[in-house]
Structures are given as structure tokens and as C-alpha cells.
Symmetry: C2
Subunit: 380 residues, 2 copies
């Protein structure tokens, strides 16, 4: 019915502001020429306040997974003991990549729908001081859990291990204190909270991580971060980058800087709280308790027979696209993305479609509006 105007509320790619899309349509330039020489370090430096880091930030043309693989390929030698924290599909992805690189993978499993306990990480590392790298997930998009990376950072700081964090679906939509929390490598991607189409991965790298990279023998060419760093000093990428994404993210960074990171993150908390209030008002269960609840994606346990049909009905008849569950939650949950270019009004339209499709007119939106107005009154 609405094929040409679908509300995209999946956990990424997130909708992109029209002015950013327009910037993406800029004409090509020489990636080894005068203009890009300023554009490349310019964009990477402007990302530092969002990463909250003074570390070097590098960009790879690829998806978030490309960034994750670069993190593994540059820190893991075959046989190296590593600890992977797994509470969803993206934690599992760290383990899958580490296994490819023949690491000795220790898995710390935590329940899908809960956050990892930093104490458990601490205890594990005390028992296994040989661990070289800890791979963690900031926002586990498959469950909508935002992990306590500050706590994990403290646990890892008491060991010799590097801390590598997947912040693909959180960076720019919730706080991540790369330097203050002691994170050696942070991976993110353009298409979540950074208001840009997919196609670029960004990776921050500490000095300690760079030292480690020099000792790594794992095969890597496109993902060799030392090459990216060396070329960045000349203002060049090693390989032809996705120029359109660079044009786009410059415009996106203008928008982000104008709104301000604190305001953006406060907005994400509000969006989350509106969605949670609306879903609960409908009598539907939330997968995740508030203390772990993601600011960018919310998983719902609707207790209905066929979630696929429910989502198709929303898409084809109500014009809202949500995402199904992932992994072992595939048949029991659906997920609502609320990241990046999203406002309280967008949450109301999403909830309106859900409540209308269930015949519960006005129920979820009423609850969400109340959360919104309360938040505004508090900020007065």
C-alpha cells in the first residue's frame, strides 16, 4: 500500500537525512588529490569527540563487519587465547571471526536479553591471565542490550589484555568513553547513529593496540590497519574509498555538531523510553530490563503465533518496517530500531501502526506521549 513511503524502523541501516543524501550525490574527486587530502583527516578528526578519544581513527570502505574483522586480523595471532563475551548474534560474530583466525577462543556466555556481568569478566581474567584480547559488544542489536563497557573496561584494566569493542549500533546514540574506559579498539559503521548510508567502517586504535599490530602475522592486506595509518599521514587512503560516503558524512557531522552529542543521546533515551512505555501499554513484553535497555533498538516478545505475518502486515498495510528476531530469538521477538535520524513523532507513528494493527487504538501512543511531555517538562 505504501511501497514508496515506508517508515524504516529496523536496527540499521537507519534513515538518512535528505540533505545528507544530497551531499552523497556530489561529483567524484581524486582520492589522491588536493581535496581529499583535507577531507579524509578532517572527517576522521571530527569523529573523535563522538568516540570520546584522542586515539587515531581510521576508515575502511566496507560494512561494520569489515571493521570487526580488521580488529581481529590486526590483534590476533594463531593460537592466541582471547575472551569473547557472547549474549547475542553480534557477540557470536566476534567468536566466529576469531575462530577463522585460529585464536584459542574462550566464550563467556551471558543470557540473551541481559547485559554481561563485569564481575564475571574480572573473575575470568584473574583465572586466565594469559588472555591477549577481550572482545565485547557495546550494543547487542540482536537483543537490544546496552552493555556496561565502563565496568568491563575496569575488569580488563586489571589484566594485560587489549579491550576491543563493537559499537556499530551505539556510537553516537549512547555514551561510549573510549579513552576514559580504556578501550583499545572501537569499531563502528556509518549507517547507524552517524546519519550516513552504509559503506564505511570507522575504527579507533590506541597506541598499545598499534604496538600489538606490529607483532601480528595473520594474513591481511585490505584490513591491515598499519597500512591505513601510514597512508593517513599522507592524507590518503590506501585503496579507493567510498567517496559518496565521505561527502555524506561531512554533512551528517554538521548536523550532529549542531545538535550536540549530549542532546542527541538524551533524545535517544527519550525515544527508547517512549517505545518501551508504548509497548508495555499494549500489554506486550519487553525482552530487556530497563537497566540494560539499548538506546537504539528495542526487542519485543509479543507472544503471538506468527511474528513473520505480523511484521508483513505492518509493512504492507501500515507502512512501517520493523525487523524480526535474530538467532535463537528469531521466532519469539521482533525489533524496533530507533537510532540516528529519528524523533519523538517518529516513535508515535511507529507505535500508532502497531496499536492500530492490534485494534488497540490510541493505547501505545497515549503512553508514549505522556513520556514525551514529562521529559519536556523536566527539561524546562
Amino acid at each position: 500500500m505504501f511501497r514508496n513511503k515506508i517508515e524504516l524502523r529496523i536496527p540499521g541501516p537507519a534513515p538518512v537525512p535528505p540533505q545528507v543524501l544530497q551531499a552523497a550525490a556530489s561529483p567524484m574527486i581524486n582520492h589522491r588529490g588536493e581535496q581529499f587530502k583535507h577531507k579524509l583527516p578532517g572527517v576522521l578528526n571530527r569523529l573523535k569527540p563522538i568516540f570520546k578519544t584522542e586515539n587515531t581513527i581510521l576508515s575502511i570502505t566496507g560494512s561494520g563487519t569489515a571493521g570487526m574483522e580488521a580488529a581481529v586480523a590486526n590483534t590476533v595471532n594463531p593460537g592466541d587465547p582471547v575472551l569473547v563475551l557472547i549474549g547475542g548474534s553480534f557477540g557470536q560474530r566476534w567468536a566466529d571471526i576469531c575462530n577463522q583466525y585460529q585464536a584459542k577462543v574462550y566464550e563467556l556466555q551471558y543470557p540473551w536479553g541481559e547485559g554481561v556481568d563485569p564481575e564475571a569478566v574480572h573473575d575470568f581474567l584473574q583465572k586466565h591471565p594469559e588472555i591477549k584480547v577481550v572482545f565485547a559488544t557495546h550494543n547487542e542489536s540482536s537483543t537490544g542490550v546496552l552493555n556496561d563497557i565502563e565496568g568491563i573496561g575496569k575488569a580488563v584494566a586489571n589484566s594485560d589484555a587489549l579491550l576491543v569493542v563493537d559499537a556499530v549500533s551505539s556510537l553516537g546514540g549512547s555514551y561510549l568513553e573510549t579513552d576514559a574506559w580504556g578501550i583499545d579498539i572501537v569499531c563502528t559503521a556509518s549507517q547507524k547513529c552517524l546519519l550516513t548510508p552504509p559503506g564505511l567502517a570507522f575504527i579507533s586504535v590506541s597506541e598499545r593496540a598499534k604496538e600489538r599490530m606490529k607483532e601480528i602475522k595473520s594474513p591481511r592486506f585490505y584490513f591491515n590497519l598499519l597500512t591505513y595509518e601510514e597512508m593517513l599521514l599522507k592524507g590518503q587512503p590506501p585503496y579507493t574509498p567510498n567517496l559518496s560516503n565521505f561527502f555524506a558524512i561531512e554533512e551528517a557531522l554538521d548536523l550532529i555538531e549542531a545538535e550536540g552529542l549530549d542532546n542527541i543521546i538524551a533524545r535517544h533515551y527519550l525515544l527508547r523510553d517512549m517505545i518501551r512505555a508504548g509497548i508495555q501499554a499494549l500489554g506486550l513484553k519487553l525482552l530487556v530490563e530497563e537497566r540494560w535497555a539499548s538506546t537504539t533498538v528495542t526487542a519485543v516478545v509479543p507472544e503471538i503465533d506468527n511474528i513473520g505475518d505480523f511484521l508483513k502486515n505492518l509493512y504492507f498495510n501500515y507502512g512501517v518496517e520493523l525487523a524480526g528476531g535474530q538467532g535463537k530469538l528469531a521466532t519469539t521477538t521482533f525489533r524496533i530500531g530507533h537510532m540516528g535520524y529519528a524523533t519523538p513523532l517518529d516513535m508515535l507513528t511507529t507505535l500508532a501502526a502497531i496499536e492500530a494493527s492490534l485494534g488497540k487504538f490510541g493505547v501505545a501512543t497515549a503512553a508514549a506521549e505522556q513520556v514525551w511531555v514529562e521529559a519536556m517538562n523536566k527539561n524546562r
Copy 2:
């Protein structure tokens, strides 16, 4: 002087037609949803007539080098003997990647500025029947040489080796008969002759290559082509793709299909011949003899002291951006890109800037115009 209107005549990225740039600015969609399920196989199937293949074509979000590394990572086990044909920077890149994957690399070096002799490949493979893969370069962009892949294909067909070809800067701008010439894997990228911004690599894979991939133990996750093939059967990419590039290439394929591949390639030959005639009329030397001359990039040996200054003058004062030389040709050559979205008139403006900057008014353009008119008269 012309910072906002530069004629981009480098060996890629090539200029992108405005209607393709506009398409790239389309709003985001779900890469696992209804629309992309048709878009992904649609685009890959439409590339088959350009690849001249019935093989599976896969896409990776990344540069051409990402595609090259995928080809190596999926066909080479540590210790495997491979033959790399090297006559420029991009042949060298094959060797560099193969060395990362611990192949036993045999190099067949041929002069920079000449094509490889298929007879030499034949002889080498007769002496080394253990070779598992031959890595070749169709268009060596560092020298402007178009290699005789048909001849190389015949040489490799007499062995058990797979043939892998880098056609990044040629596919769609000169003939490559993937199936008829027996090429197991062809790599190309979006930003050369396919009229699309950089960000996507495309790879065709023969059945024989797929069988080989199943035996490969080299670490690979993002570059595991078997994952891409498996997911393609569901109409999905394994990882979030560069959606803007998919929107763009659909429009680009409309333009390519409307012009027709034969006409496009004839146009590239004309562009090449105009550039060569113009450069020679100026008394400048061409690096490559006509029999090996690329249809997409021409290297010039200008015999002037400082090529960097010459190119800067062209860029800042005449508004034309050419590329310097690469590798051992860095200080003796410059390169003119004439691929994709380029017309005879574009060649005239490029030559006009060069001749004007040398004070040889009208000389190169006159020669090139003559080539153009002769070609038109022939086609009448």
C-alpha cells in the same frame, strides 16, 4: 581557479553521470527486506552480459582491492604454488596479497609498458605443472597496458591451474570474454567503467573455482565468497551492503544497456585513439605501443623535468586533473584516464588544456579531431 569544476581524467574513480548520482541519493531501505531481495540478484544478473559469463556474480562492499583479496583468500592455501604475472603496480598487488596468504609465489615479470607474452605463461606452466592458480591483470592501470587475456587463457587451459583476472579498470570499457576465455574468477569495481561511485567490488566465480573454495583453509570471514553465494540464494547479502551504490548502479546499468556494450567499447577505442594521436602530435612519447594500448588509461612519457609541477599547473590553472605515474614510473610518466562517462569532446578539452599549458595551441586537438571525424566517416 576552477576548484568547483575540475575535469577528472584519472584512472578512476571516473566521473559519474548526474542521473546516477541522483539515484545514489535515494532513501535507505531494509537490506533484508522485500525491495532489496529483488534488487540484489537483479543487479548481479544484469552484470553478466558485461562480464560475458553465465557464472555466479557476487558483490562485496569494498574497493577493487577487497575483491582481489577475496579472490586470493578463497583460492589459496598456505604453501600453494601460484603464478603471478607482473608488469606494473597492480600485478605487484596480486603478489603482495598472495604473499600475505603465504602462497609460494612465482613471479613472471614482464616489462612495465608491455603486455605479458602468453607463450611465456604457457612455457612456465609446462615446467611448473604444480601451479594451482594464475593471477593476471587485464588492464594494468599503472602502465596503460591491456593484456592478452585470451592468449593467457589458452596457456592456462593446458594446465590444472585456475585463472584469476583483475579487470577492475577494464570491465565494461574493453572486451573480456570470461567464459569463452576460460577465466575462473574476474574481479572488478563500481567506479571505473560501470559509471558508479566507488564502494562495490564485483566478482564472477566459475563452478571449478567454487569447488576449490571449499578446500581452502585461509582465514576469511568478510571475504568468504561461499557465504555470499549461500546468502544470495535467499536474495540477501551477508553483511549490510552499500545501498547507495546499488541504487546508483541500477541507473548506470540502464545507461549501459541503452548504449550497448559494443558501442561503449567502440567509444573507448575512439577515446584512446584520440588521446594517442593528440599526445603524439605534441611530440610527447607514449609509454605503450598500440598493440597493447589500454582503452581506459594512457600513460605519457613527457620527458620534462618536474611532472608534479606540470600536473599541478594543469589542475590549478587549466582545471584538468590527470594522474601521476606509479611505482618505478612515478617520476617519468603521467596518466590520462578515459573511461566510463567520457566522450570525444571530453578528450578534446583534456588535450586542449595540455597543449595550451605547453604553448602548442590547437596542435593536439587538431590531430584528435581528425581521428574522430575519420572514425565517424568509417561508421557511416
